[in-house]
């Protein structure tokens, strides 16, 4: 394999997975964009380090970036805690003014024509293709440092992320832990920015976590998944950019990451958009079915007879979309809750008991709202329309007990129990 390609590949992979791991903690804290701000705010530090010292020494620039990033981080924290400004105002304020200051300093260099700005340009646009062997060593060292740091401070980071008050209550050195975390984050950004540039750094921090979070709730699994997503994006992105001429690596890595990110958010089981939609649809269908059974039961209750209703009859009593009703009736027939009878439908014994249950829950809930919560009898119907589809048998039992086996609802209709 081409040694340059290999260097870029190893470099971006290490970088992306390190950034993903620190990014996961910021993600869970809901502070992902602080990383974006820090990425921009590094610039003045880098330029000053360049002006004051040897511009070609990468370590020197990294130290400058680190100092600048830390100042920005604590500046954001200070503004957030001491003023009434919203927290994202603090973030964007620090981001843009630091960056502007950096640009101003940079134009000083350009004017004085010191040349050798390649080291600086990397901090703006990122140059994955320019990764050298030295960079690979630095990235590996950083990756190891991050892994060790996260390993050593795992408990601390976890508590800091989820419950800072608790962490300090049990005597953890919260300030120190937070400082360590900040240093690690700023380091990851300092290095990452040289590969993907200022703007896209945020993607390396945020997107892997957003993707991983769609699949799991457990923190260790999430960290691992985020790192895996990041690493595979880095590999795929590097490969694509090397296969197509002139293509930049950073943006391709980010595009592949976006593919994983949006893909996970759409397709992940349980938390994904499709799964949620499916659940919502199923719920909606169940509600329509139960409403039809309830309606038929109420008609029987009124006429004391087994009634046969056609779809137009049903639509006359309760307005709904005709095709929804047709689907519901088909489902009900398949579940043996109704049978077709001439041109209409009649309840089966099973369907009758199901309709009775829905009516019972509706009336029990109305009674509960008036008796226990003191609501007026003419205000309770809409709430009960929802709750009748939600109440579980366990809650039903508690309701019956709480209300003392009531006979009548607030509108003096009987509460229909199952005959023993």
């Amino acid at each position: 394999m081409d040694p340059i390609f290999l260097k870029v590949l190893i470099g971006t992979t290490l970088l992306a997975s390190s950034a993903a791991v620190v990014g996961a903690f910021s993600y869970l804290k809901g502070q992902s964009l602080v990383g974006d701000a820090i990425a921009h705010a590094l610039l003045p530090g880098v330029v000053l380090a360049f002006l004051l010292g040897d511009g070609r020494n990468p370590i020197f620039l990294i130290v400058g970036a680190l100092v600048s990033g830390l100042i920005a981080h604590y500046g954001i924290g200070y503004i957030q805690s001491r003023t009434k400004l919203k927290s994202d105002t603090a973030v964007s304020l620090v981001l843009s003014t630091f960056f502007g200051f950096g640009i101003m300093l940079m134009s000083l260099i350009q004017r004085s024509g010191q040349g050798q700005q390649a080291g600086l340009e990397r901090y703006l646009l990122g140059k994955a293709a320019a990764i050298t062997m030295d960079d690979v060593y630095i990235f590996s060292a950083l990756a190891v440092l991050l892994m060790v740091g996260v390993g050593l401070f795992y408990k601390g980071f976890q508590l800091m992320t989820f419950n800072e008050d608790f962490a300090s209550a049990i005597g953890l050195p919260v300030t120190f832990i937070r400082f360590t975390f900040t240093v690690l984050t700023v380091l990851a950004i300092t290095i990452g920015i040289q590969t993907v540039g200022v703007v896209l750094m945020a993607a390396l921090l945020i997107t892997p976590s957003a993707a991983a979070r769609a699949w799991t709730k457990s923190l260790p699994t999430m960290l691992l998944l985020a790192a895996v997503f990041a690493a595979s994006s880095a590999i795929t992105g590097t490969y694509i950019s090397s296969a197509i001429p002139k293509m930049p690596t950073g943006p391709w890595v980010v595009l592949v990451l976006a593919f994983f990110g949006f893909g996970s958010l759409i397709f992940a089981p349980e938390k994904g958009w499709l799964a949620k939609r499916r659940r919502a649809m199923a719920n909606q269908k169940k509600t329509v079915r139960e409403n039809v059974l309830k309606l038929m039961y109420q008609q029987e209750e009124r006429s004391d007879l087994n009634v046969v209703l056609s779809d137009t009859d049903i639509l006359d009593i309760r307005a709904m979309r005709p095709e929804k009703l047709r689907n519901a009736l088909r489902d009900l027939k398949r579940r043996l809750l109704v049978v077709e009878h001439g041109s209409g439908y009649a309840l089966t014994e099973l369907g009758r008991s199901e309709g009775r249950r829905v009516v019972r829950l509706h009336r029990l809930w109305e009674l509960y709202l008036t008796e226990r919560l003191g609501m007026a009898a003419d205000h309770i119907h809409p709430g009960a329309e929802t709750m009748e589809h939600v109440i579980t048998p366990e809650i039903e039992e508690l309701l019956v007990k709480e209300l003392g086996n009531p006979e009548l609802d607030p509108h003096q209709s009987p509460i229909p129990y199952e005959e023993a």
Partner: protein
């Protein structure tokens, strides 16, 4: 809300690239159209991620704009033969070149294009604020209350975001996508430390913006530095001074009761 502005200013890149590629011209109208479409689209994606998919709000902003920006860079690189745009121009435009980009009609010069577009922007923004004052005020302070009053909060948010992308795109050539954020946020944030009423706040931020722009321009003349960078620096310095005064006075009055 301010980070959404920042995000949109980056997210519009593919819109600009596609508009440029389709129209083969640098006319602001096309670029604006492309940017506006993508900008509004990005706003919608961010909202869907946040509300429907329960992604952390920071993260939904972050992943949306970075993805679009990356797409923009890839498109620009891909069309680099026919699209004369680059990433640097987006990151930090140079206002010093503005006077060279003249509006020519039949060989007669009407002055720099950016002057006209910025002037038009100023008028549009003023008009928007005057017409939409009440709706904007309600939605900015209390979205739920606004909804109860029958004000379409979603529509106002969307229109506000469209104004932000309009301002961004127009400012693009002159100050770049990141520094425009300094212009959007810093004056208002500085004024907000001391003023909370909306009307005085609007006037104070506009004045601070003016002071920052003039001061920054002066600074850049003296130091011969980037104009946009200098303006952002001055705005940042103004905020820093205000923050120090604010912190000192808060301490003196034993402050948190005052702040709360």
């Amino acid at each position: 809300m301010t980070m959404v502005g920042d995000a949109i200013s980056h997210a519009v890149l593919p819109g600009i690239a596609i508009a440029y590629w389709l129209s083969q011209s640098r006319a602001s109208l096309w670029m604006f159209l492309g940017a506006a479409i993508v900008g509004v689209g990005a706003t919608i994606v961010i909202e869907v991620l946040r509300k429907k998919l329960r992604v952390q709000s920071d993260a939904s902003i972050g992943m949306t704009f970075t993805s679009l920006f990356a797409l923009g860079v890839v498109l620009i690189t891909y069309w680099s033969d026919s699209v004369d745009l680059d990433q640097e121009c987006v990151l930090y435009g140079e206002i010093a070149y503005v006077p060279f980009n003249l509006w020519l009609v039949d060989g007669v010069s009407y002055g720099p294009i950016a002057l006209w577009s910025s002037g038009a922007l100023l008028l549009v923004v003023l008009l928007y604020i005057i017409v939409g004052y009440k709706g904007l005020k309600m939605t900015s302070f209390n979205e739920d209350y606004a909804a109860v009053l029958g004000i379409a909060a979603g529509l106002w948010n969307l229109s506000l975001m469209s104004m932000v992308s309009l301002a961004t795109v127009v400012s693009f050539e002159s100050v770049g996508a990141i520094l425009v954020v300094a212009l959007l946020v810093a004056p208002a944030a500085t004024a907000y430390l001391f003023i909370q009423r909306l009307k005085p706040l609007l006037i104070a931020s506009a004045s601070l913006g003016l002071v920052g722009a003039l001061g920054g321009y002066g600074l850049s003349k003296v130091l011969e530095t980037s104009i946009a960078g200098s303006i952002a620096t001055v705005l940042g310095a103004l905020f820093l001074i205000a923050l120090i005064i604010h912190s000192l006075s808060a301490r003196k009055t034993n402050g948190y009761a005052v702040e709360a």
